[in-house]
C-alpha cells in the first residue's frame, strides 16, 4: 500500500483518500508516540491517565475528553481513528475518559502555553495579508520568540521550553517546568499581564503605552533586542514609512495624540523610509529636549518600536487551564506541513516556506526503504519495536525530533 500511495504522489497536494492513507503511514512509521507520551506523563502513569487528549477526525468531527493508560493504548487509538489533528489538554482531577460517569471534570494542571500568530501582525506588516506568510514577516515571529524566551528564562526562571511551529503561520511554546504546570488561572493571567505590552482592541491606534517612570528592566531588555533589528527589518525591509503601501498613513495614525500634522509635514519632505524615520527621531528629540511634549509621551519612540515588534500573544490560549493546544508533529490540514519543534537560537535559519510536508517526509522514507531493500532485502512491513527512532531519523524531521528528545531528556523523568 505504501508503494502505491507514494508512487502517485509527486505532487505536493494529495487527493483526499490519498491523504488519509498517507497520514496513516505517517502515524504508523514516523509519529514519535513514545517520546510524546513520555513527555506528557512526566514519569507518572496516573498523570497521563488524567490528561485530556482531544482529536479532530478527518471528516471534521471533534472528539473531546479522551485519555489513555499506556503508550500502546494511545497508539492503537490513533491508528484506528487516523485523526487529522491531536490536541493536548489539561490534567484533570479525575481521568477525563470517565466524563460520562463524572460529569464535572476539573482541570488541575497544564503546561503554561503561548501562541503567537502572524494574523495579529496584520496592522504592522506590509509584505503579506490575511493568512499568508513569507520569510519577511516570519521575522516578526522570530523577534517575538526571542523576546518571549528571555522573559521566561531570565525573569521567571523557567528551564523547560518546547517551541513548536504551528503548521501554517505561527508558533506555540510549551513551558513544562513543574512550577509552570501548577500555576492557577489567576497566576497565568498575572504572568501574561507582566509580559504583554500590546493593549487595546481594534479601536486603539498605538497599542503600547509606557508609564513615564524609568522603564522596567524587562522592557529595557526587549528594547535592546529590538533596537538591533529595527532599522534593517522594520524600516528598510518592511518599508513601513512608504506612502504606496499605506505605511506612512498608518504610522501617522499612531501619533494621534502627538502633533500628527507637524510630523506629517516633517516626514513627507523625505523620500525613503529610513530618511523619514530619521526625520521623525530628530524632530521628536527636538520637541522632547525643549519640553514641548507632555510627560506621558516621554517614551513615544520606544512605544512605537514596541508597537511594531513586541510579541503579540493570543491571550485566551495562555490565560486558562482549559485551553487545548495542538500536539507537536501533527500535520497541518491545509498546508500539509509538519508541526515541528525548533530552537529559538537557530530560528534565523528556520525557513517557514521549506518546512517539511507530509508528502516530502513520506518520499524520504520511501527512498530510504528502497535503498535498504536493495542493500539487504529489508522488509519494510516488518514491525520493529523501536520504529520511532529508526525511521524518523532518516527523514528531514530528524533534527526536530532530536529537539523533542532532548527536551524530554532534560526533564529528567
Amino acid at each position: 500500500m505504501l508503494k502505491t500511495v507514494l508512487e502517485n504522489e509527486s505532487r505536493q497536494v494529495f487527493a483526499e483518500e490519498q491523504f488519509q492513507q498517507a497520514l496513516h503511514i505517517y502515524y504508523e512509521k514516523l509519529y514519535p508516540f513514545k517520546t510524546l507520551f513520555k513527555w506528557l506523563s512526566y514519569g507518572d502513569p496516573l498523570y497521563i491517565l488524567k490528561r485530556e487528549i482531544a482529536f479532530t477526525t478527518l471528516n471534521d468531527r471533534y472528539i473531546r475528553h479522551k485519555s489513555f493508560q499506556s503508550e500502546e493504548d494511545f497508539q492503537q487509538y490513533i491508528f484506528k481513528k487516523n485523526p487529522a489533528k491531536i490536541d493536548i489538554g489539561a490534567v484533570c482531577h479525575v481521568p477525563p475518559r470517565d466524563y460520562a460517569v463524572v460529569p464535572v471534570c476539573r482541570p488541575i494542571e497544564k503546561e503554561l502555553v503561548f501562541d503567537i500568530d502572524i494574523n495579529d501582525y496584520n496592522e504592522v506588516r506590509t509584505c503579506c495579508k490575511e493568512t499568508d506568510i513569507c520569510p519577511k514577516c516570519w521575522k516578526f515571529i522570530c523577534l517575538a520568540c526571542k523576546i518571549l524566551e528571555r522573559i521566561l528564562i531570565e525573569d521567571f526562571g523557567f528551564k523547560h521550553l518546547l517551541w513548536v511551529f504551528s503548521g501554517r503561520r505561527g508558533v506555540h511554546c510549551w513551558v513544562s517546568d513543574k512550577v509552570a504546570r501548577q500555576l492557577s488561572n489567576e497566576e497565568r493571567c498575572s504572568i501574561l499581564a507582566y509580559i504583554n505590552l500590546i493593549k487595546g482592541n481594534t479601536n486603539v491606534q498605538r497599542k503600547v503605552h509606557l508609564p513615564s517612570k524609568p522603564l522596567h528592566s524587562s522592557v529595557q531588555r526587549a528594547l535592546e533586542i529590538i533596537t538591533k533589528n529595527f532599522i534593517d527589518f522594520i524600516i528598510i525591509e518592511q518599508d513601513i514609512l512608504n506612502e504606496d503601501n499605506n505605511g506612512l498613513h498608518k504610522f501617522l495614525k499612531l501619533l494621534w495624540d502627538c502633533r500628527q500634522n507637524e510630523f506629517k509635514q516633517v516626514m513627507s519632505k523625505c523620500k525613503t523610509s529610513i530618511e523619514r524615520w530619521n526625520a521623525f527621531v530628530i524632530h521628536l528629540n527636538l520637541l522632547q529636549k525643549s519640553n514641548c511634549l507632555p510627560n506621558k509621551l516621554k517614551y513615544l519612540k520606544e512605544e512605537i518600536m514596541l508597537h511594531y515588534t513586541y510579541p503579540r500573544l493570543d491571550m485566551a490560549v495562555t490565560q486558562s487551564l482549559d485551553h487545548l493546544l495542538k500536539a507537536p508533529f501533527c500535520i497541518h490540514a491545509k498546508t500539509g506541513k509538519v508541526c515541528i519543534p525548533f530552537r529559538v537560537s537557530d530560528m534565523d535559519k528556520f525557513n517557514v516556506i521549506q518546512v517539511p510536508t507530509l508528502s516530502v517526509v513520506l518520499d524520504e522514507l520511501n527512498n530510504y526503504y528502497q535503498k535498504q531493500t536493495l542493500n539487504n532485502h529489508f522488509n519494510i512491513y516488518k514491525s520493529d519495536k523501536n520504529f520511532e527512532c529508526n525511521h524518523i531519523l532518516n527523514t528531514s524531521l530528524c533534527d526536530s525530533y532530536n529537539i523533542l528528545l532532548n527536551f524530554v531528556m532534560e526533564l529528567e523523568l
Binding site: R106, C189, A193, S217
Partner: protein, 498 residues
C-alpha cells in the same frame, strides 16, 4: 447542633474569654482561631448583619467609581459607616495602632472576630458566595493594614509568625540599577529593604510590573509587603472556606441554619446567572433594545456582530451571557446566533463549531454550571488583544475613537466631552453612568456596576418616564431580637485549623 447543656464536647483550641486584651492583642487579625465564648443568638444575628453592611458599604463605594483605598474612597467609606451607625467598624477602620486599647476598642476587635466567623459559615456554600466574601474580606483587611504604623505592622507580623528576610547588601549592589528601574514608586533604593519571594506569591505585583523579577523570584520593597501578607491571608481564608463548606452538613441547629442560609439573600443583589427574566425578551425586539437600552460595550459588540456576522470567542461570551441575562431563552439565543453567523458560513459549520458554545453559555454542556453575565469590573479588567472587540469602551478605546463613536450616537458635544473626560481620568463606570444620564435626561445617581443592571435601569426609566426612583445603599433590615436563647458559639463548626 445542640443548645446549652446538652452539647457535645469537641476538642479544639478555644480562646479563653478571661481577658479580651489577651485574646485580641491587635486591631488586625488573621482570624486563625475560632471564637470560643458564649454568645446570645440575638447578638449573633446582629454581628452578622453589621459585618454584611460593612462589606456592602465597601463594595458600594468602590462601585461608585472611586479609586479603592484612595483618600476620597476612605472618606466615603467613613461617611457611610457613620450613616449606618457602624461605630465599631469605623473605629477599626480608622485605627493606626494597637497599643493601649480602650474597652470599646476591644469590643470592636471581638465583634470583628466573631462576625468574620459567622460570615464564613454563611458564605462558604457556593463558589460565587466564597468569591464575593473573599474579595470583601481582603479589602477590609487591606484598608486597615495600610493605616498601620511601622511599629504596629512589626507587632502584627510577630504575632502571626510571619518572617521575611531581606536580601544581602551584595545582592542589592549587583541588581542596583534593575531594582531602581523596576520597582514602582521607589525613589531611594538605598533606603529600602528588599525581600525575595517566589513570584507566585505576589501575582498582583507581577501583573502590574511593579517589581523586579529575576529567576523566578520577585524582589519586593518593604512597602509592598502588604501584598505578600494579603496573599497569605487570601489563600488561608480560601482554604478555610472550602473546608467549612465540607463541614457544613454537620450543623444541625435550625435557627443558625436559617440565618446563615438566608443571610446572602437578605443582602446580595442579583447575580444575573439564572435567567430570571427568561422569555421576557424576544428576538424581534432585540434590535430596538440594543439601540435604546444596551450599554455602550454591548451596543458596540452587537453592531459588530450585525455587520460582520462574526464575533470572536471572548466577544461572544460577553454578548451572549448578557443576552441570556436580559432574558433571551436558549432557543432564541441559538436562532439569533445562527441567523447572524450563517450569513457568512454555512449552517453545518455553525453547528460544528459554534453551537456547542451557545449550549455552554446556558449550562447545557461541559461543566454544566450556569455562567453569570459579566460584571463591569470583569469586563473592564479583561485582557483585550489586537483585533478584539470586547471590553469596556470607556477603558479600552482611545479618546479619539470614543469621541467619534459617541458623536455618531448623536450626543451633544458637551455631553461627549464630559463623558470622554471622565473616562480618560480612569473613571470608566462613572463615564458609563454619565452616558446613561445624558440619554435618559435624569440624575439617576445610581452606580453602574453591571451591563445587565444598566439595561434594566434603562428599561425602567423609559417605562415610568417621570416616576423616577432614587436609590441609596440598600438598607439591611435588622431583624427583631426574637429569641434570646443563649447559644454557645463553640457549637458551631468553626473551621478551627486554618
Amino acid at each position: 447542633m445542640d443548645l446549652v447543656g446538652t452539647r457535645r464536647k469537641r476538642n479544639y483550641t478555644t480562646i479563653i474569654s478571661n481577658s479580651l486584651k489577651d485574646s485580641y492583642p491587635h486591631n488586625l487579625q488573621m482570624y486563625s482561631f475560632p471564637p470560643g465564648n458564649e454568645i446570645q443568638l440575638s447578638e449573633f444575628e446582629e454581628l452578622a448583619l453589621e459585618r454584611l453592611q460593612l462589606f456592602r458599604t465597601i463594595e458600594y463605594t468602590t462601585q461608585k467609581g472611586l479609586r479603592i483605598y484612595s483618600e476620597e474612597w476612605k472618606e466615603c467609606v467613613y461617611g457611610e459607616l457613620i450613616k449606618n451607625e457602624l461605630k465599631r467598624y469605623l473605629r477599626l477602620a480608622k485605627s493606626t495602632d494597637f497599643e493601649n486599647p480602650s474597652d470599646i476598642d476591644l469590643q470592636a476587635r471581638r465583634a470583628d472576630h466573631i462576625s468574620h466567623f459567622i460570615l464564613r459559615l454563611a458564605y462558604c456554600r457556593t463558589e460565587s458566595l466564597r468569591k464575593w466574601f473573599l474579595a470583601r474580606e481582603l479589602e477590609w483587611f487591606k484598608l486597615r493594614f495600610l493605616q498601620q504604623s511601622p511599629k504596629s505592622i512589626e507587632k502584627f507580623l510577630k504575632l502571626n509568625n510571619l518572617t521575611y528576610t531581606s536580601i544581602s547588601p551584595e545582592e542589592k549592589a549587583k541588581f542596583y540599577s534593575e531594582l531602581s528601574d523596576s520597582t514602582a514608586n521607589a525613589y531611594a533604593v538605598d533606603q529600602l529593604n528588599f525581600y525575595k519571594v517566589r513570584f507566585t506569591e505576589v501575582p498582583s505585583l507581577i501583573k502590574s510590573r511593579r517589581v523586579f523579577v529575576h529567576k523566578g523570584y520577585a524582589y519586593i520593597p518593604n512597602f509592598e509587603l502588604v501584598t505578600c501578607i494579603l496573599g497569605i491571608f487570601r489563600s488561608s481564608l480560601n482554604e478555610a472556606l472550602v473546608y467549612a463548606n465540607r463541614r457544613l452538613p454537620l450543623m444541625d441547629d435550625d435557627r443558625i441554619n436559617f440565618l446563615i442560609t438566608n443571610l446572602h439573600n437578605i443582602y446580595t443583589g442579583k447575580d444575573y446567572s439564572q435567567n430570571f427574566n427568561s422569555g421576557k425578551v424576544g428576538l424581534t425586539s432585540l434590535d430596538v433594545y440594543a439601540r435604546d437600552h444596551f450599554p455602550l460595550c454591548m451596543k458596540y459588540v452587537y453592531g459588530i456582530l450585525k455587520s460582520t456576522h462574526h464575533l470572536k470567542h471572548d466577544c461572544r461570551l460577553q454578548l451572549g451571557l448578557f443576552l441570556k441575562g436580559i432574558g433571551l431563552t436558549y432557543e432564541d439565543s441559538m436562532t439569533f446566533w445562527k441567523n447572524e453567523f450563517t450569513k457568512k458560513i454555512d449552517s453545518g459549520k455553525f453547528d460544528k463549531e459554534y453551537a456547542y458554545n451557545i449550549k455552554h453559555m446556558y449550562g447545557l454542556v461541559g461543566q454544566r454550571t450556569s455562567y453569570s453575565a459579566y460584571s463591569c469590573i470583569k469586563i473592564i479588567s479583561s485582557n483585550v488583544g489586537v483585533g478584539d472587540h470586547h471590553g469596556c469602551p470607556y477603558k479600552h478605546w482611545d479618546s479619539v475613537i470614543l469621541r467619534t463613536k459617541l458623536n455618531e450616537l448623536g450626543m451633544t458635544t458637551e455631553a461627549v466631552e464630559d463623558i470622554v473626560n471622565t473616562a480618560s481620568k480612569g473613571h470608566y463606570q462613572i463615564a458609563c453612568c454619565k452616558h446613561f444620564e445624558y440619554i435618559h435626561g435624569q440624575q439617576n445617581k445610581v452606580a453602574i456596576s453591571h451591563p445587565n443592571q444598566y439595561f434594566e435601569e434603562s428599561l425602567e426609566c423609559s417605562k415610568e418616564n417621570k416616576n423616577q426612583k432614587s436609590q441609596d445603599t440598600p438598607k439591611i433590615v435588622k431583624k427583631q431580637k426574637a429569641n434570646d436563647t443563649t447559644l454557645e458559639i463553640n457549637d458551631i463548626d468553626w473551621n478551627e485549623d486554618i
